[in-house]
Amino acid sequence: MDDPHAFERVIDGDKTLTQVTHDVFSPLERRGTGRWWAGFLLAVSALLLGLIAVAYQVQTGIGTWGLNRTVGWAFDITNFVFWVGIGHAGTLISAVLLLFRQKWRTSINRAAEAMTIFAVMCAGVFPLIHMGRPWLAHWVFPYPNPRGPLWVNWRSPLLWDVFAIGTYFTISALFWYVGLIPDLATARDRANGMRKRILAFFSLGWDGSARTWSRHETACILLAALATPLVVSVHSVVSTDFATAVIPGWHATLFPPYFVIGAVFSGFAMVLTLMLVARKVMHFEDYITQRHIGAICKVLVFTGTIVGLAYLTEFFTAWYSASPYERFVMLNRVIGPTGWAFGIMFSCNVVVPQLLWFRRVRNSLVTVFILSLLVNVGMWFERFVIISTSLGRGFLPSAWASYTPTLIEIATLIGSFGLFFTLFLLFCRFVPMIAAAEIKTVIARRHANDDVAPEAAGAAARPEAPESSETTERRAA
């Protein structure tokens, strides 16, 4: 980052504004590719499997899960925390990096935000279906009612979750949508018939005037400012589900920062996974460049190391507490019956990301892709380890019990991935996946001879003389 321009050159291929418009919008106007359809069918199948599992579970009872009197949460809340965590990278990229004027974010922020929203949707499913009586889920909202009125329990972290997740989803969705408007307008301008009318509705009468731009930018900055604290608050609140409990292994003040950094870590890993697939499938190699991937890798190695520190701090705290229960739980986590899960967690989250110190690793897309998957797996296991091993062997040895997932739970987990990818693939097909308007502002600024303010989206950009690739390389270095 020594070269202030290194990241300003956000995209490769030295695109003209027209080319950007074409690259981003034409896939939306064509029929889906075979690869897209294959992916979509797979995702929808997974979603259907999950739906069947959930329908069966709601019909029959939570007993269709492998939970027991001792382990009251396992896959359900693991999945919940996992998906909430995934969302964090989107907010971080779109809001925090926007506030910090990190222009390199522009080509991935749209997709990352979409990922956030979809991940939060996936996450939101679990608190709902994990209830014994999900049809009464509305009772967790404080609304005037004829039962007294009987309010909710403001002391319960689960209630805090309701607000944290609710706020998070609302802000993220708004932010995403507001950022989408100029691009929706572009799509509208290129469309006909019904499609045009729908897009016209959603682009809210965008006319590309300076006033619309000005208000758009203000709204974006405001929402970014609103969303930024959420990066910290949401997972802090989620962590209090555990931290405020008396259960050894949960009862730790470390949890809020530990969970937030874990969330950012897992979120970036998921961004990486998705971007690597998207650039290949959607042919966005010029937009999602090696530089983007390198930057994400650096974030990963940074956050992964902090996560490792958090793990060690947990052990230290357990030892320092002198509580035999805390000490036991930590030891049990490592060499107890589910020590293998800890092994997966530790190696995937702490050991594996250290490979990213090496440029050669970062430059190998295949390696990076595998690494990102491993981090995803590791972070899922982190939550599983925290939840199930702590619950399984608590204070009274008589109540110790282990947990084994049922087919229904596995199907539900698969279904949540199905939901995520179904939504994401629909997003790829129907919404401009790259923030074209923002890319254009970056391109426009970079071309000295192009001294006009960023153009209205949809307006034809003049073709530019391609810069030599050697110059690009030099500047990148």
Binding site: G132, V152, L158, L159, T244, F328, L391, G394, L396
Partner: protein, 1007 residues
């Protein structure tokens, strides 16, 4: 107690006319409010009519008041007698709307004194068993009673008639049998599957009287038990447990604690309570007793009385020490033995005689009448049957085919009997070959009486109209004699002629009988005298007549067929509450299994759950293995009472879902029948000592238990410094407690400093419990009592395997120490009603909240089922309704307590501290304008406990019993260090053992 004279005026029964009135015929579909009210009105109206349809119901005298009709919604109590086993404890049936919904011990019954065991508690459910026979059968086909009686009467004419029963504890039935045998020249054979034949034989030989002395454990300062599980399954456990607890009161100025040494092969409930426990092989039991006799005889200066019986026993020094202890407490000691070997029993008798215990701790004058069965007589009968010398055999209360080993050829012998008459209320293997079945009713729907200890009478009266057409044996015998007196009159006539004249009651017979019915119990001096005279040559003769069990050869193990506390016998196998009651020693449910020592299992190369074939010759049983510390390494123990045909009725007891497994396969049985391995030798039915070979079959079966970890110590490789042992079940010694009561128990203290104001400050009562672990022996009567009181569903084996048992009160069992220093801890564990309850803060919808009187309440209606409360419960006592548990059996549903909500799927539940009882007690006190008196409210668990281990009351009242206990020297709270301020206090277990006997681990065996 109210005056009973009004009973004469009030002849109306509380019993509804028929059971149909109990099950309101509310139409399933299209039922309107109007039809419901109409039917409900009809139900209540007909409930007020005195019994007229099924004859049996006559005057019933309710216990407390005498309103002339059932008041819907108000409970009343009827004193009656438990039919669960021959101990015949007094019970009060709590009835609602004309049916019993809960059994409680009758505190005025002089033998059981208010306690009730798990089997007794669960016997309520047997009443509502829909598979009970309805009416008589002739050759397997339904027949009228007249037709059935005609068949029997025809067969009885000019034939050799035999009546085979268990021990008859009902004097009126006994009188009926005597009348019957006289009329038909028949003979009556009594036999018990859990026989005390050897004890009776030994007393016969040594005293010339075939009696079972009544044992007084409260009077014994030193108790030596040889394989007698007197707290769990032996003879009269409630009586014994009450006495035992009375002799062990370790607190206060008048502290006294008996010393209990237990010698056994298997690990029994009683063994787990003992101060010192020695494991011997079954064949070593007799030499051990012989050695004890030798030492006692030496001390008594009667060395020559010891005879020549081999005394080559293990634990020589400990036995010598025991002899000294016994001798030191002569006349105040007690040696009991559960062996089926008459010689071994003769040694026991001799030792007690040498110690002068007869007439003191052993009562021959008022002997126990719970076992009169004679193995020899049964053998003779079977021989007769086999030779075709029996024309009519009436079998009552016994499934002979099931109980006896196959090589006896019971079925074949039965086929040689002209007419087999069975009285079995359930389809069993013996009644399957019977020509006539005249089923008997449940105790709670019939008239009956009992005399379990001579001179102590109790009465049974119907608490519900007969749910099934059935007749007692007494009634059937009368019918077959051509006597059409009904059953009530038969009982009453016996009492009029045989009991009433013996009393010094002033009033009329009727007022005496009414009073007896009202109280359920009456002591009547007995004219009978035991003609017992010590015969010095008795023991030697008996020893000579009874062969000593041989030690098993290398490579084989000695089999012990034992009884489980929950399912002691095959007759209990049809009860789901008992089947699902975790065994207090293994915590397993719904199965029997082969218990072996861990070292033995390792030697055989089997792991828990591996199926082994236990065989001796052709006789073989295949059961899964369970390792159990404390059991003698050369022993393999399998519980009887399993493999009962018809138990596949439980195949669908639990929820059915995708991965759910059946509790038992269709056509299969719960557990395996172990009778093939019993040995019927010429004198007795041997249950222990048979040499068997044990070979793994390669199969594996999961055993469902409620505990995965069995020790107070955490696994060794996870033991952090200072955290190797979870000090949740504390134990101290009597000696320490005597020396320094304030420092005998080392418990965690709560941190008094808190950042927060008291969450639930209240000036009123705070309900709480104190549980004395020294008194608790783990019998689990409370567990079933709680299940009955609080409508806790039985969920089946698979759900327990998944750790989803629903019991609100669980009996935690921990082991500590090893080998001869093994210690077993039982700890009842239920919701602690914490003042700073972790569950309450985390529920998002306030479904669990604190009451103004200190209860942690679960509001089922409000619960959305996040399970966060259960996760955050340090005691893990919350139970979640994973499914809608099957409640389709409407007859069974009559056992539900109407005062307690049946929970639906998806909600959390847990011990409510019997809030319905608290409310009832408060309402009652308010009605009288008083405060709730200490002790006026009793928890279901507390009421049932024969040892009085549980005390409930107001912790804020410094004068209450519970508050005093909670501040006593032994009190501690489990996990007090979490500052949850629990409402349940434990009193540390106390063992009367010196450090030498239990702490040193000298490893002495064959010393």
């Amino acid at each position: 107690m109210t005056d009973t004279s009004h009973h004469a005026a009030d002849r109306h029964s509380r019993i509804p006319a028929t059971i149909d009135d109990l099950v309101l015929p509310v139409e399933r579909e299209g039922s309107s409010r109007r039809t419901f009210l109409k039917l409900a009105g009809f139900g209540v109206a007909s409930a007020t009519l005195a019994g007229c349809s099924r004859g049996v119901t006559r005057l019933v005298v309710p216990r407390l008041d005498a309103s002339d009709s059932v008041t819907p919604g108000l409970a009343y109590w009827t004193a009656t007698t438990c039919g669960g086993c021959e101990a015949r404890c007094g019970v009060l049936a709590r009835c609602r709307d004309g049916r019993p919904v809960k059994l409680e011990g009758n505190p005025e019954h002089a033998i059981s004194r208010g306690g009730l065991c798990a089997v007794g508690q669960a016997s309520l459910l047997d009443l509502y068993d829909g598979t009970r026979r309805d009416g008589a059968l002739v050759r397997g086909k339904k027949a009228s009673w007249n037709d059935a009686d005609a068949v029997v009467r025809a067969a009885l004419a000019n034939s050799r008639v035999r009546i085979l029963t268990r021990t008859i504890t009902s004097p009126s039935t006994r009188a009926g049998i005597e009348r019957f045998t006289k009329q038909f020249g028949a003979s009556h054979v009594e036999w018990d599957p859990r026989s005390a034949s050897a004890i009776l034989a030994a007393h016969d030989a040594c005293f010339g009287a075939r009696v079972l002395p009544r044992m007084h454990f409260d009077r014994a300062h030193v108790i030596a038990s040889f394989d007698a599980d007197f707290l769990g399954t032996w003879l009269s456990p409630v009586d014994f447990a009450r006495d035992y607890a009375a002799g062990r009161r370790p607190d206060g100025d008048d502290a006294t604690m008996s010393r209990h040494v237990h010698v056994e092969s298997h690990l029994s409930l009683t063994g787990s309570a003992a101060d010192e426990r020695l494991a011997v092989a079954p064949s070593e039991l007799r030499p051990t007793l012989a050695l004890l006799r030798k030492h006692v005889a030496d001390l008594a200066g009667a060395a020559d009385a010891a005879g020549s019986e081999p005394t080559d026993a293990p634990y020589a020094t400990r036995i010598e020490h025991l002899a000294q202890e016994l001798w030191g407490a002569r006349g105040k000691s007690l040696v009991v033995c559960g062996s089926d070997n008459a010689g071994t029993q003769a040694l026991t008798v001799h030792i007690n005689q040498l110690l002068g215990n007869y007439g003191k701790t052993l009562d021959l004058e008022q002997p126990s009448l719970v076992r009169r069965g004679d193995d020899k007589a049964l053998l003779a009968l079977i021989e007769e049957m086999r030779n075709g010398k029996v024309d009519v055999l009436i079998v009552d209360g016994l499934d002979l085919v099931y109980e006896l080993p196959d090589d006896v050829g019971t079925t074949e012998a039965l086929t040689k009997v002209g007419t087999v008459v069975s009285t079995s209320p359930l389809a069993d293997e013996t009644s399957a070959v019977a020509a006539v079945v005249a089923p008997t009713p449940h105790e709670l729907e019939s008239w009956n009486d009992a005399e379990a200890v001579r001179g102590h009478f109790s009465l049974s009266q119907p608490t519900v109209p007969p749910l099934r057409a059935a007749r007692t044996l007494r009634h059937s015998l009368a019918a077959w004699m051509g006597d059409d007196t009904d059953d009530h009159d038969l009982v009453q006539a016996y009492w009029q002629t045989s009991v009433y004249p013996r009393t010094k009651a002033k009033g009329s017979f009727q007022s005496f009988f009414d009073r007896a019915l009202h109280d359920g119990y009456v002591a009547v001096p007995s004219p009978e005298r035991t003609r017992a005279r010590w015969r010095a040559d008795g023991p030697a003769k008996m020893l000579a007549a009874s062969a000593a069990p041989a030690a098993v050869a290398d490579g084989s193990l000695a089999l012990v067929v034992y009884s489980k506390v929950g399912v002691p016998e095959g007759r209990n196998a049809h009860n789901p509450w008992l089947q699902e009651m975790p065994d207090p020693l293994t915590t397993l449910v719904w199965d029997n299994y082969a218990c072996v020592a861990p070292a033995t299992a390792a030697r055989m190369g089997v792991r828990p759950g591996d199926v082994v074939r236990i065989a001796d010759g052709d006789a073989a049983v295949e059961v899964p293995v369970r390792t159990l510390p404390g059991i003698h390494p050369d022993t393999i123990a399998v519980a009887r009472g399993y493999g009962v045909s018809g138990t596949d009725r439980f195949s669908s007891i639990g929820p059915s879902w995708l991965e759910g497994e059946l509790t038992v396969q269709e056509g299969g049985t719960v557990g395996r029948r172990v009778s093939p391995l019993l040995t019927l030798d010429k004198n007795s039915l041997r249950t222990s000592g048979r040499a068997v070979t044990v070979t793994p079959t390669g199969d594996h079966e999961d055993l469902a238990g409620t505990q995965d970890h069995h020790r107070l110590e955490v696994p060794a490789h996870l033991a952090v410094r200072g955290g190797a042992v979870r000090d949740v079940a504390l134990v101290t010694t009597f000696e320490k407690l005597q020396k320094d009561p304030d420092h005998a128990v080392h418990a965690h203290e709560a941190h008094d400093v808190s950042l927060w104001p008291t969450d639930h400050a209240n000036d009123g009562p705070r309900w709480g419990m104190a549980i004395d672990l020294a008194a608790c022996n783990g019998c689990s009567g409370c567990v079933v009592a709680c299940q009955a009181e609080n409508n806790v569903p039985s969920v089946g084996k698979d759900e327990v395997l998944r750790h989803r048992e629903m019991t609100w009160l669980r009996m935690d069992r921990y082991f500590s120490g090893t080998g001869d220093d093994l210690r077993v801890h039982h700890q009842p564990m239920m919701c602690h009603h914490c003042a700073n309850a972790p569950c309450e803060t985390v529920c998002p919808v306030l479904a669990t909240a604190h009451s103004s009187d200190g209860l942690n309440q679960q509001v089922y209606n409000r619960c959305v089922g996040t399970r966060y409360c259960a996760n955050n419960c340090p005691y893990k006592v919350r139970r979640f309704n994973w499914f809608d548990y099957p409640r389709a059996d409407e007859l069974n549903n009559l056992a539900l307590n109407p005062d307690v909500t049946v929970r639906s799927r998806g909600v959390m539940e847990k011990c409510s501290m019997c809030v319905q009882r608290i409310q009832e007690g408060k309402a009652e006190a308010a009605r009288r304008g008083e405060d709730v008196a200490d002790g006026a409210i009793q928890m279901a668990c507390q009421q049932s406990c024969p040892s009085g281990a549980i005390v409930f009351g107001d912790l804020h009242d410094p004068e209450s019993a519970v508050a005093k206990l909670a501040h006593g020297p032994r009190s501690y709270q489990v996990l007090a260090e979490l500052n949850v301020d629990p409402g349940v206090t434990y009193l540390a277990d106390v063992r009367n053992a010196s450090e030498f006997a239990n702490g040193s681990g000298t490893g002495e065996r064959h010393g």
